[in-house]
Amino acid sequence: MKVAEKKAWIGRRYIIQSKFIQKFRNEKFLHILILPTIIYFIVFSYIPMYGILVAFKDFSFAKGIAGSPWVGFEYFEAFFRSMYFMRLIKNTMLISFYSILWGMPFPILFALLLNEVGNRQFKRVAQTVSYFPHFVSVVIVVGMMVTFLSPVDGIINILALKLGFEPINFMQESKWFRTLYIGTGIWQDFGWNSILYLAALTSIPMEQYESSKVDGANRFQQAIHITIPGIMPTIIILFILSIGKVMNVGSTKVLLMYSPAIYDVADVISTYVYRKSILGGEMSFGTAVSLFNMAINFILVFITNKISKKVSEVSLW
């Protein structure tokens, strides 16, 4: 009895196994379709993960990753001890923090006001216009900024001069950096970022507005008691997700905007890594700094994803 059962079990497992093998063979065209992408990810995502070892070695191109000698946490310690450590973290976090603080209200306000517009044509034109800067490259945005703010022939300084102010060399003054970085960021993306809020607004049931109208609510009261609570889940989730990115300021825009004169406020972790490793050749040190940054980013994203899942479950039901 027992032997028979065992035999049957083995037999069943064998059938399942051979079925799987047969199925796997039958799927050869699916394998062929996905193969180039798999190779791509192995080469350009997984092999660089192995390359992280460089952070713990004294890397030189001549010796290669495997041949370079181990140094343990030497480069991490060097980074933690350097004067750059605190400055970079402070700059990175302040840019993120102020970007969230100033950047979040604009798309929400824009979506709310746009939602009150009855004229469809006007609405469409306003949307088309406001989304446009999102598609303009950072180089052009910063290039226009530099050109407009030029102390010699920029329109801003020409106007300032005509109004009796002294021309300001905006790009070379530390105190202007964050304002310009965040201000142009808002200009470029407030329209685009309003799309998600506009979508959330359309999902608020019409009946709520109609019944509140019967109760005598005016439009302002409707906005406070129906519209804003209706998009609150979206606001909260986007806020939480942006908190997950506070230590993750991209290098491109800062690289284009900064100069040694304003490193004290503009230099962030990603630009420091670029400068040290790609420009300065300190590959191992750069990798160590970037690995430290990636670890923090991962923890933050992990935590905030968990929270946002919980919040969205709560807010959905």
Partner: protein, 297 residues
């Protein structure tokens, strides 16, 4: 929702429209200023008279740009990277998304994990730089189109699209009729996915057109550099150098400045031209792409 209720409502509506119109104007104003300045007469630029509409007319700056060899090389490079890169992107993304969208695919969940891992973990800049050097791709055209050939995020939204528009039953039925997965993919899946392909093409193409950092890190040969690097040199790091010769023709210092500035403005417009031309007609596809992604999140 907009029901005329009284004077308060009408005042609100009017001021709301005015406010939004003002916001839209501020948003678009920098571009208007650049266009106007690029086609105004040199005199108006020297006298700094342009604030909104162009004064006089003069296309010299555009002629100068199209006679500038380095400018044309960079422009051609950008077009090459965009066309070839986007082609590779779309082929790889769709062909990988299809197997991942079939629930019956035996190693689907393993491959999804394999792909998803790359979303959260990466080697970072330096290991990538070392790899590219070891592969001999530094300072080659190919690095611009191979690096980032598949975007995981786009792969995931394409997979979701295939799942919802091409049900399992369709591919199963085609298989019973004797079609293999290749035939199904090219003859059924792709023709049914025009909207998704449009969205992918646009998202990838804009990315290539605007790409800056990849070129900064991997292309030091000026013959290979795209517009982004040329524009950075022209607008940000070393203004006048790009067209010193043209400027030297004028001995008046203000004129040199004006010629340079107009050249910058014309270059900005030429760089943005494709996006400015196509954008109004394709905007709905961009929004669609954004929404597919958001639903997935």
């Amino acid at each position: 929702m907009v029901v005329k209720r009284g004077i308060g409502d009408r005042i609100f509506n009017a001021s709301n429209i005015i406010f939004l119109a003002l916001i839209s104007f501020i948003t678009i104003y920098p571009f208007i200023y650049v266009i106007s300045s690029s086609i105004s007469s040199l005199d108006a630029i020297v006298k700094q008279e342009i604030y909104f509409l162009p004064k006089g007319i003069n296309f010299d700056a555009y002629k100068m740009a199209f006679n500038d060899k380095i400018f044309l090389t960079a422009y051609f490079n950008t077009i090459w990277y965009t066309v070839v890169g986007t082609f590779i992107n779309v082929i790889l993304t769709t062909s990988a998304a299809y197997p991942l969208s079939r629930k019956s695919y035996s190693i689907r969940s393993q491959l999804m994990l394999f792909v998803a891992v790359t979303m959260y973990f990466s080697g970072g800049l330096v290991p990538e730089f070392i790899l590219v050097n070891n592969l001999g791709l530094y300072n080659t055209r190919w690095i611009m189109v191979i690096l980032g050939a598949v975007n995981v995020y786009n792969l995931v939204i394409t997979r979701v699209f295939f799942q919802s528009t091409i049900p399992e039953e369709i591919s199963e039925a085609a298989k019973i009729d004797g079609a293999n997965d290749f035939v199904i993919f090219f003859k059924i899946v792709l023709p049914l996915s025009e909207a998704m392909i449009a969205v992918l093409t646009l998202m990838y193409a804009v990315g290539h057109w605007n790409e800056f950092f990849k070129a900064l890190v991997y292309l030091s040969d000026s013959q290979l550099q795209p517009m982004a690097l040329y524009m950075r040199k022209l607008l940000i790091t070393g203004g006048a150098a790009a067209n010193e010769e043209a400027g030297m023709a004028f001995y008046d210092e203000f004129k040199v400045l004006a010629v340079n500035q107009q050249f910058k403005f014309a270059s900005i417009i030429i760089t943005m031209l494709p996006i400015m031309c196509f954008y109004p007609f394709l905007q709905k596809y961009f929004v669609k792409g954004m929404m597919i992604g958001a639903v997935k999140e």
